[in-house]
């Protein structure tokens, strides 16, 4: 790597929510620092992964290889053993090996805040714009897989903490690529008296946002700022700042602070996850809600509020 930092990223999810934020961070680093960047899309056939890791790692030209997606873990571990000098950054989790760099995100914390926000708004009842009499909030997941369950778990805990009598209705689309289905699922939830729906479903979730505009209810976005998807209907977005994570890692590398194995945690306290209330909504959020949210954030940061991870 003749003086110039060169990085690669490998994943099957560059097209979906969190992946988009990773790509944004990588591109930002590329533009700012002029690093070489190679993106490798793994597709979704497990048979391919090992070969792809080998193709990427064997030349040794990449200073860092970012790896995103749990299904790649097996191939990653083999590659890490086969190419011990290669530094891999595993995004969104921590593995047993101590040779890798981990960028770990606490999405359950962000989801906890989102759940608390939704629960409290729901509790305001018809006093609040677009909220009906029912006491339920919703969740639309992409596929029913552990990481999505982790979002759901945080959301439920947050809602229970801040608004114990609000019920959480959760559904899964079974796919991340079907916005039409997302819209249909959200409309089913809204039709049953649910007023706020949090989506963790990539492009499928876009359908949820659009449905909230169609029936004029509230939605909460995820991963990236989705406030523009349905202005006036999106309460907030739970940002999972993959962009910050990769950007800061590359920045360290470029500025001579060689990234070494270990875990970096991106949580509420460090700003790695955050709930951003949309600008057009923010003025109408009651002060007591804002205060409670601040209190919760503080509690999570200092450990007085424990958020369970999904196992």
């Amino acid at each position: 790597a003749n003086g110039k930092v060169s990085v690669a990223a490998i994943s099957g999810y560059f097209a979906q929510g969190f992946g988009v934020s990773i790509v944004n961070g990588l591109n930002k680093a590329k533009d700012e620092f002029g690093v070489d960047l190679k993106l490798v899309d793994t597709g979704n056939r497990a048979l391919d992964y090992e070969e792809q890791f080998a193709n990427l790692a064997k030349g040794g030209q990449y200073d860092l290889i970012f790896v995103m997606g749990w299904e790649l873990v097996d191939a990653l571990q083999k590659a890490s053993a086969a190419y011990p000098d290669q530094r891999f950054v595993f995004i969104d989790g921590v593995l047993d090996s101590d040779k890798m760099i981990y960028a770990n995100f606490a999405e359950e914390q962000g989801s906890f805040v989102a759940g608390a926000l939704a629960g409290m708004i729901e509790n305001k009842g018809s006093a609040f714009d677009k909220i009906g009499d029912g006491k339920s909030i919703g969740f639309v997941g992409g596929r029913d897989i552990p990481v999505i369950r982790n979002f759901l778990g945080g959301y439920e805990q947050g809602s229970r903490y801040a608004a114990p009598d609000v019920k959480v209705n959760s559904v899964f689309a079974g796919t991340f690529d079907d916005p039409a289905k997302g819209s249909e699922l959200a409309q089913a939830l809204y039709g049953q008296g649910t007023d706020i729906v949090y989506n963790v479903a990539g492009p499928t979730g876009e359908g949820v946002m659009q449905a909230s505009a169609a029936v004029d209810k509230y939605s909460i976005g995820v991963d990236v700022d989705m406030c523009a998807s349905a202005p006036g209907n999106v309460l907030a977005s739970m940002l999972k700042r993959g962009d910050i994570a990769v950007y800061s890692l590359i920045k360290d590398e470029v500025e001579g602070r060689k990234v070494t194995p270990g875990t970096r945690t991106f949580d509420l306290a460090s700003g790695g996850v955050e709930v951003k209330i949309c600008d057009d909504i923010a003025p109408s959020i009651p002060a007591d809600v804002t205060a409670k949210l601040d209190e919760i954030k503080k509690g999570i940061a200092d450990g007085s509020i424990k958020v369970e991870r999904h196992k």
Binding site: A15, V20, V171, T175, P179, E184, G191, Q192, P203
Partner: protein, 329 residues
């Protein structure tokens, strides 16, 4: 009871129509090829390019209608490629259909990257979606049932109105007749100077037209965005419905409604806490059960069959005074 109330209501029927519309449109498109004797497993791909180019056209022109037109043109290009390979070059239609599906997937992503610099989804204000059609007076006449007929995007109406048109088309127009004849008995068509090639091309293109509309509906009507692979198996579902309806418009409608209902219904079931994976399989299982039940019903059970035939024999035999043959007892 409360559960039933929550499940079975106008909203469910409205959702059924909404879910049905895109599959119905693409399946009606496939009806042309099916009737013309071509097995078109490439509907999925045609729909996908339709969806993509509709969004592209809408962004470029700022007009939803031009967007729809772009989607249709793109699907037509795919349909033409299908026809050239299958009809003129006599390639295997399953291979071509599947390969065009693969091509559609790769092409839309490549173009998305090339044009928008990102993968994933195209969302945002620049896409002009199709407006919802409010039927005047619907609310006064139907009250809470109004959403059943009013407030959909235009293609939903197009899909359902297309059904009677297609019935008429096959029954009463020359082209419709030729399509049926070419599918049913090509040697008859050939002997009468009807060009099989021409009819199959026409059928393929008509298929592309509706598949393109279906795609445009998905990305500009149902929702307003494009995402990779957003046709999500609707084209394959349409293929399944087509095969067991033999392309007959009314049966296609019935099949699509059944699937649409099962889909809308099962989504609602999920909110009662059933495991998502099993609930998501419900529409496919319903379709399978319907398929099996239909074919089972078309073969009466041995006993009923025998009874009926006996009755028929008796009724036929009592009339003419033929030479003294005894009835079987």
């Amino acid at each position: 009871m409360e559960i039933l109330d929550k499940l079975l209501n106008v909203a469910l029927l409205v959702a059924t129509l909404r879910t049905t519309a895109p599959i119905l449109l693409v399946a009606l498109g496939g009806s042309f090829t099916t009737k013309a004797g071509i097995f078109n497993i490439g509907l999925e791909g045609q729909m996908l390019v339709g969806a993509f180019f509709a969004v592209l056209g809408s962004i470029w022109s700022g007009s939803a209608l031009i967007g729809v037109a772009c989607g249709v043109v793109a699907a037509l290009v795919f349909a033409l490629a299908f026809a050239v390979l299958v009809v003129s070059f006599r390639a295997n239609e399953v291979v071509v259909g599947l390969a065009l599906n693969i091509l559609a997937g790769g092409m839309t992503i490549s173009l998305m990257k090339a044009i928008f610099g990102t993968r994933g989804s195209i969302v945002g204000q620049k896409i002009v979606g199709l407006p919802k059609v409010q039927i005047p007076g619907a609310r006064d006449l139907l009250g809470s049932w109004a959403p059943l007929v009013s407030g959909y995007t235009p293609m939903v109406y197009v899909a359902f109105v297309a059904v009677p048109f297609l019935v008429l088309f096959y029954k009463r127009t020359r082209l419709g007749l030729y399509i049926r004849v070419v599918g049913e008995k090509p040697e008859a068509a050939e002997a009468l100077g009807i060009s099989i090639t021409r009819v199959r091309y026409t059928a393929s293109l008509l298929c592309g037209l509706l598949a393109g509309l279906a795609g445009a509906h998905l990305s500009l009507g149902y929702i307003t965005m494009f995402t990779e692979n957003m046709s999500s198996g609707r084209g394959f579902m349409a293929v399944a419905i087509l095969i067991f309806s033999a392309g007959d418009p009314l049966k296609v409608l019935a099949g699509c409604l059944l699937f649409g209902f099962a889909d809308a219904f099962s989504l609602r079931l999920q909110t009662f806490g059933f495991p998502s994976y099993l609930i998501l399989a419900v529409p496919y299982l319903v379709a399978l059960v319907a398929l099996f039940a239909l074919s089972y019903r078309s073969r009466p059970r041995i006993i009923r069959e025998t009874l009926e035939s006996m009755k028929k024999m008796l009724s036929v035999e009592t009339k003419p005074a033929e030479t003294g043959n005894n009835l079987p007892r």
